[in-house]
Each structure stands twice: as C-alpha cells, then as structure tokens.
Symmetry: C2
Amino acid sequence: MALGRCSDQERRQAVLAMADALEAEASAIVAANAADLEAAAAADLAPSLVARLKLDASKLAGAIEGVRQVAQLPDPVGVRQMHRELDSGLVLERLSVPLGVLGVIFEARPDAVMQIASLAIRSGNGAILKGGREANRSCTAILSALRSGLAASAVSPQALELLTSREESLALLKLDGLVDLIIPRGSNELVRFIQDNTRIPVLGHADGVCHLYVDQEVDVPQAIRIALDAKTQYPAACNAIETLLIHRSSAAAFLEQALPAFAEAGVELRGDAASQALGVSTAAEESDWRTEYSDLILSVRVVDDLQKALDHIARHGSRHTECICTTNGATAETFLRSVDSAGVYHNCSTRFADGFRYGFGAEVGISTQTLPPRGPVGLEGLVTYRYLLRGDGHIAADYASGARSFSHRDCPL
Amino acid sequence: MALGRCSDQERRQAVLAMADALEAEASAIVAANAADLEAAAAADLAPSLVARLKLDASKLAGAIEGVRQVAQLPDPVGVRQMHRELDSGLVLERLSVPLGVLGVIFEARPDAVMQIASLAIRSGNGAILKGGREANRSCTAILSALRSGLAASAVSPQALELLTSREESLALLKLDGLVDLIIPRGSNELVRFIQDNTRIPVLGHADGVCHLYVDQEVDVPQAIRIALDAKTQYPAACNAIETLLIHRSSAAAFLEQALPAFAEAGVELRGDAASQALGVSTAAEESDWRTEYSDLILSVRVVDDLQKALDHIARHGSRHTECICTTNGATAETFLRSVDSAGVYHNCSTRFADGFRYGFGAEVGISTQTLPPRGPVGLEGLVTYRYLLRGDGHIAADYASGARSFSHRDCPL
C-alpha cells in the first residue's frame, strides 16, 4: 500500500518487522561489516572513521533495540493541529502529514541507516539512503534486511532505496520536487557541501561552536563542573563547548581553580591576552573563535561585561547551544532572551542539547537554522501539515457580497 | 530598544503609532503616488501594473485600517510551546521568538509595504523592504511615515529599511545569516527569480495551478456554482482554478449545463479530445496543463477515474489548493488523504485558500513548499522558537553514569 495512506498500526508493525528481519539477518550483516572493516584497514582509513564504521553483534543488537523503540513512539501523523468552523457547514482542519520522501546522506556509520530508516517509516515517509563507500557492504546487507522486513508488512519495500555511487548521490541533491528533505549525517564538510549543492531543505547543521559564559556573579566550583562536562564528556559531539567567555571580574578567581582542573582533564586551553596573563599558556588566534575543535581543546576569552559576551557569541557562534553560568537571575534572563541560538541554557551543561535528553525518544538531527524545526529534531521534524476544508457548495462570492459571513469559531481539537 | 526585546504592548503600540503617522502624512503619500502614476503613464506601463500601483486617499485609508487590525492580532511571540521537567531542577521550555530580519521584495503595490511592515513589527522582526522602481516615490513616502511613527514608540525606526536600487535588491538575496526569510510579493517570474538566486528560505509560491475534480457521483448544479466561483470570482488570484478534471461518467451531464454557464461568465475553455467531443470548442495543448492563466481561461480534461485525476494533479499541480466535488463521502476522503497540496477541499471553492478567510486576521503570503509554514501564512510564519534550559549545576556525565536519570515530566503550558 502507498506508505502515505498506511495507518498508525500498519507503520508501527512495519518498523517492528524491520527489527525482526535485522535480527534474523544479523550474522550476514556482521559478516558484511567485517568485510568493510577489512577493506578499510587495507585502505588505511582514519581510526575515527573505522570506529564509526564498526558494527559488531552487540552494537547491532543495540541498534535493533533502537528500531523497536521507534516503533513505540507516538504517531506524528494525523494530529489535528487546528479545527475551525469558518461558517456553518464549512469546516477547516489542519492535519499533520508525512513530508513525502527523505534523502539521507551519511558517512561511515551503518547504524545510522537503521535509525533513520525506522524514523522515516514510522512517520510515513519514504527514504533514499546514501552511505559512504567504505560502508557499502554493511549498508547493502542492512537495507536488504530492512526491505525483507517491509515485505512482511503493509508497507511496500520500495519505501526504502539505497544509493551506492557518488554520481547517484549528486543526482539525489538535484531532485527538488521529488525529495522533500535532505538529512546529512557526517562531518561538517559533508554537511556544508550538501547545503551548497541543493535547493532541497537540509535538516542539520555544519558547525557546532558552542559557548559557555562565566558571569561576574558565579558559583565557581559549579561553573567549573559544567565547563568540564560540556568540554570533556564527549568532545567530538556538536553540543560540546569550544569557547569559554569569562567576565573580567571573575576571571582570576575562576581560572585559578579551573586551570588545574582542565589540565587534569587533559584539556588544552588557547587564550586571549587577558587570560594568558592569568595563566593560560597558549595564545588563541583569530581563527580559534570560529573553530569547532571536536577535541580536548578550548579557547578562552576574558570579556568586559555581558554585552561583550553576547557580541562575541553573535559574531562567532553557530547558533547551536550557548550557556551562562551565573547566580544572578536577572542576568540569566537577559542572556536567555538575547542569544539567538536553538538552545540557550542557564547553569547546566550544553551536552543536554539532544533529542533523547529532551525526551523526544529519538533524534533525526540537530538543526541550527532559523526556521523550525530547529534544535534537536524528533519525529515531528519529519511531518508537515495540510489544510482540509469541507463544505457543502460554499463559494467565496457569497462572503464578498456580504450574503454570508464567517464565524471563525474554533472547535475542539 | 532592540526590537527583539520589546514587549507585546510596546510592539502593539508601535504598530498603532505607524498607523497614526500614515494618517498624518496621508496627503504627502497620495501626492507621491500621483507622481509615480504620472511617470508610469509617461513610461507606458501595463494597465494591470498601473492599477496595482495606484494608492488614492480611500485605498490608503483602507490600508491604514489594516495596519490597525494587525496591532490587535494576538502576540505570536513568547508563546510557550513546550514545558518539560527533564529532571528535578532541570526545566526545558520551548518559546516562540521572532525570526530576526525579513527581506521583503515586491512589485508595484505600495500598499504591501504597509501590510508587511506592520506584520513584521507586530511579530518583533526587522524588515528590509525593496519595492519596484515604478513605486519608488510612494514607497519612500510611506517608509518615511512608518519610521516617524516608530520614532514615537519603543521600537527603533531602524527596524525598517527601504532599498531602492536593483543592485541593493540582489545584494539582499546574498545576506544569508543576516536575513532570515525572504518574502516576495509579485509575479510568478519575480518569485522564481528570487527562489533561484538566494539560499535564504523563501516564503511563497511561484505558481498557483489549482484543480477542481468533478467526480462521477456529483451534484451537478452545485459543482457548476463552485467551478464558476473558483474560476471567475477573481481570476488573477493564485487560488483560482486553472484546470477542471471531469470523471468520464459525469462529463456529458456536467458539460451540458456547464458550457452555457461558462460562456455566459466569459470563460474560455480549452479541452482535451474527450471534452471537445462534448462541446468544448478549443483544443488544449500539453502546456495548458501547467499554465496559470490568471485570466478567464480554464483547461478541461476528462479522466477515467479518481486515480487518473490524482495522477494528473500530482504531475501538473503546484501543490497549492485542489478541490473535489462529489456526493460520495468515501471518495472525498480518499481525495483529501491522497492529494499532496497545502489545501485540499471538498465541495467548496478553492478561493477560500486565504489567511483572512481561514481566520488568521492577516496574511504574509501563501506557501506551497512542503515544510511548514505552508498554505496561507499568518503571523505565526514570522516566528520560530528557541529551547531554554534552566538548571542548577546539572551535567550530562551524571546521566551517562546512571547517577541520575531523566524524569521527562510534562508541565502545564
């Protein structure tokens, strides 16, 4: 059946069938991945890429569990967002509907195929997936399992397609009108390349240059705890901080305790002149303020006041997630109102910027664009809406002439 | 004060001050428009363009009344869309916030300046406006009034800027990162040019090729009434129908009554072979199925069944608004579920696709894109949202280690 017309129950069952099929074909998938890993070793691939590529039996079991969880998420389709009588017998509804077809482009990470494919089917969307060449065997094996799962469901296996060549991937970016949303999962370079080469909306972000601002009125030990977590808990994450801004009046007290803590955690600091005078040993270059290190490196700048911190963030930030550490509630509120990022935090780690942590159950990605959906995007980012209007011969001329008039009465959702 | 931080009351008052200033400078505005009209006559501008350009005292009074109505619309900013405790003391909110800066590009129609400027200020957005050269004097006079109104309010007059040269307009399209949304108001060609020349999201639509499908089970007089309204009530509107699809079994009965009615209304029909056999005198070319006539012309095609109608719409439609006329409820529901347009209607005129008629109070434009906002867009299309997270030293490591766990408890909005 056409996926867009499948019921909640049918889509849920299809995702569970996908999980069952992955389980049934687990050994074939792990073997295909082993072959990819062998080829990667022979080709001298970067260790970080190899780590992401690896899909052993236990990682696969975890991914299958994730697919089952997606099946349990509430249906994002068919939600009545508006219900209004325009006039007697003329009733407007706004219903959530699937976007249509997702184009998913990712590097290495064969586990992303399972995650995105299950989110797509759960939300009634078809998906065209393109993995990195290095993961070709793994992705092919996974797709074959996913499609055999769909064959045992109401959803057509054709709802999922795998592309394997770079030419096909470039062609995918040109399919405006057929593909409704591109979801890139990979390096900043991949995302930027995609944004520059398609007119299809792209969900995601290139950079995650997140900031932590330490105010003049601050609980220093708490701010250090937050800074350490935000930098070191998973330095490669997009929601890790890259720059620490410190109010001039608290800089000495903060750095005195923070420097040994950062040193112990293995964090390299790169500071401006003022922070160097307070003990930061390496000088920051202008480019440091725009760099997502994805590593245990942190740039440090001393600022004269809150406004200077806001200016720095507006100029160098990537509108991902920024945090203020302050004990002054009014200062916190000014920061929360002034920073134009998808996430703005007070006294907590930027690492919370994540769909699972927000309670969305799953995450398609994190968007730093201005228009919604932005921030961590769950299933709701994979639907749009449609206005349905039901009448009984109603025509506009009767309202233009004054023969009839609108009631605009909201009805229960 | 920075517009983004102004309160509901301040923004409302600013819009009213804009209306007052327009009133105070009405005679200067009308005089400037008269000079534009004179130049247009000398330059032999198309009559339709001259009609849109004209802004006499009564049209201006109507536009000022529209500005006052925008002031009364409910505030779209600061709406709490989500409120969730992630853990004790760690509370997530999702608040609606202004987009930032709108880029507005329009042809002729100086009244659009007032409408869009008031919607921008009401929603906390700055706007850079670029009018057609032919409306230069009118727009300059209007902007001067709007800014003097703002000068008597909490909002800075700099929130509104007018561009006058084509070079500035092209530069505006390149301001990604500074301008958050482009709103074009003008011809299909203008919109298409803008979509092709910017990476900033564009709110709107190039084409409005709307369809009316007359089913085999149909109340013929009602269907004719709806078809006439949808074609003739305002043929230049984007929500007017351009193509009539008729089920083969009802084609003879429908056309027998419809042909004289269309003839009387001055509508020229262009039909396929089957409809020509039933009396449509002119042959439709392949290009007719993709043409927005914006005139009293209608293409007509006889289809074998509902599926063929759906196929035609999917192939040639612009995803704006489509309607089915049928007395069969199940057929109607299939149509409503299957057509992927911003508006899908049953037994009423497509001319209802309009923000005022939907009860939004005002309209920024109609979007035919897949992602929200789509369809008629009111003030809600001029805001986005931001996630605010307030904690008390919460760090991600505690949740990774299992020392703490998420509650994800929804709180009242």
